[in-house]
Symmetry: C2
Subunit: 346 residues, 2 copies
């Protein structure tokens, strides 16, 4: 059976590490159902403002069916380094608050039309509220991060916030002065997505007093998973079912966003195809027919295939990074989570 | 001579603490000229992004003639507790970055028309850039704050960012559901202005390993100075010379902002006056004639006088807070700075 066949996930990366019956894909998250409950409770416990309006806007973005991938990685990383207690769940709220804050600001910046199947906050309460509640959540995250008595956690978190802002800015500049090289793309997604996922893993290590080698391994794992996550997002944006995705399909095209399939298609398409694609990227208002044309171009030029292959390589590297840890259930599950990133449908 | 007569400042608060000739107002900042140079150098040293666009936007707001009150208070506070070295200047950049970040966001939120005599960033580079460079500066501030190895500094800074966001949100809600009580006003300015000024003082104390009693005294001093600072701003907005102020006069009225003179006038004016004032606050587009009418109403109802008196009381308390420290030049100068806040013209 193909390792990446839809409907299954594989714990670990080599046949040697696989033992027993392979659980079906949808089940991997079920392994974490207790963790998810604890994560939800922690998220609920730490974000509150004494202003009910702030709570209302925060709840809208925080409790709207997020996947909780980042807190889960914090919890797993700490557990892999031997720490498992309520403090870990408290810390796991930090990256999710950062993520929520960045979504609030990104929707203002990108004028996003839908977020997790709902209207984005700025469309309901205005740009002002979205900007300020985003600031509030950033601050709450960093306030919480500084409570653990380990300066490395606060440092890692704030460095990540700078990177995330720079990533969004790069993307903004990209829309004005496009650079269609894969390197430019990787630079953006490192900052925009992978840095926070990597940080989510590292802080788990810090809290568990892991060795520098272990923290580095966790950071690499997160970096690879984060990049693969973004590439899988890039594919989903063109291929997913809108209801499952919780946002409109094809928004990356409408927003002129540089995605990996686009990078590949611009290199591989013939000249008329390339010119048509560039026109669409610039126009900002693709029709359904345009979108269908782009989808078939991406299939024809092998853009989806290439993207998926790159993501799979990254997942392989992610799993390999965890080699510094002894084999155990948590390590297997983290390797399974890395694969899950590619198999998800939203 | 009246203690608060324009053109003079008084170091200390009681005749006993005043010795020698009173320096003229404009001179107090000259006492700090070396400090200001070091502060500028520190500000320049720590904010940079590898993205030139981020640096350009950051510079626009960071180096546009800010008063550097917050960094100066950090430096003075540390010195009062016995610490004076380059680390203090490094730390002093933190509150100024936070201040700059909040200005970037506030201008987006309030649609400010002028800032320090220049167009605000969002008018030049768009809302998107202002939001994201604001995020970047917040993060840089917190990253820098976490480098001093004292978790209390990072904690105090991030708590202040939450408070500032809440303050702006309160002000936003205020515009929709007005509450004209002085308590509501004090609640807003505590968060919006005083919290950061108080934090600027406290972190200086933390860095100097001050006693809890000393840190508390510095915090109180900053809180009082910050509130007085905002009250003096409230007066300046209606009375200053636009060129000196660096922004348009009367913007608080146009933005429907709750200021202390307004609180008083709404209480003291007769019914027709009050109704006219409320209409103007709601209309959002006061004419020059409207503004003149409001100014005379504020004079007639004693609104400016009351505001000035409240600010003077706060300055008295600020100076009193420093009583836990031995009398010394730095203490005298900090008391002088508290008075300067009322005497400034911009």
């Amino acid at each position: 059976m193909n390792k990446y066949e839809r409907g299954h996930f594989v714990v670990g990366v080599t046949p040697e590490t696989i033992s027993g019956p392979k659980p079906v894909l949808n089940n991997i998250l079920e392994y974490f159902s207790t963790d998810f409950q604890e994560i939800e409770a922690a998220l609920d416990r730490h974000f509150s403002s004494h202003l009910s309006f702030v709570n209302e806007v925060s709840r809208h973005i925080l409790f709207a069916g997020g996947k909780r991938l980042r807190p889960l990685l914090t919890v797993c990383s700490a557990r892999l380094c031997g720490k498992q207690d309520s403090e870990v769940y408290d810390l796991s709220a930090v990256p999710e608050y950062l993520h929520a804050a960045s979504l609030l600001h990104d929707d203002v910046v990108d004028e996003g039309q839908m977020r997790r199947g709902k209207l984005p906050a700025y469309k309901i309460w205005g740009n002002q509220a979205a900007v300020l509640v985003g600031d509030f959540l950033y601050a709450k995250a960093i306030e919480l991060a500084s409570r653990f008595g380990d300066v490395r956690i606060a440092e890692s978190i704030s460095r990540t916030v700078s990177l995330m802002a720079e990533g969004e800015i790069l993307q903004l500049l990209q829309a004005k002065t496009p650079n269609f090289e894969e390197a430019a793309y990787l630079e953006i997604i490192y900052r925009k997505t992978a840095a926070l996922i990597s940080c989510s893993c590292q802080i788990g290590g810090f809290l568990a007093s892991a060795s520098p080698e272990q923290v580095e391994a966790l950071g690499n794992y997160g970096l690879c998973v984060g990049q693969a996550f973004q590439m899988s997002d890039d594919i989903l944006d063109y291929t997913a079912d809108a209801d499952e995705l919780g946002k409109l399909v094809g928004t990356d095209l409408a927003e002129g966003k540089l995605t990996l399939p686009m990078v590949v298609a611009l290199k591989e398409a013939d000249r008329p195809g390339k010119e048509k694609l560039l026109r669409m990227l610039r126009s900002g208002k693709p029709s359904v027919k345009d979108l269908e044309w782009v989808q078939s171009l991406f299939y024809e030029t092998g853009s989806f295939d290439y993207t998926r292959r790159r993501a799979e390589e990254l997942i392989f590297s992610a799993c390999e990074s965890l080699g510094v840890f002894e084999e155990c259930e948590t390590r297997n599950l983290m390797q399974g989570l890395a694969h899950f990133v590619m198999e998800r449908r939203n």
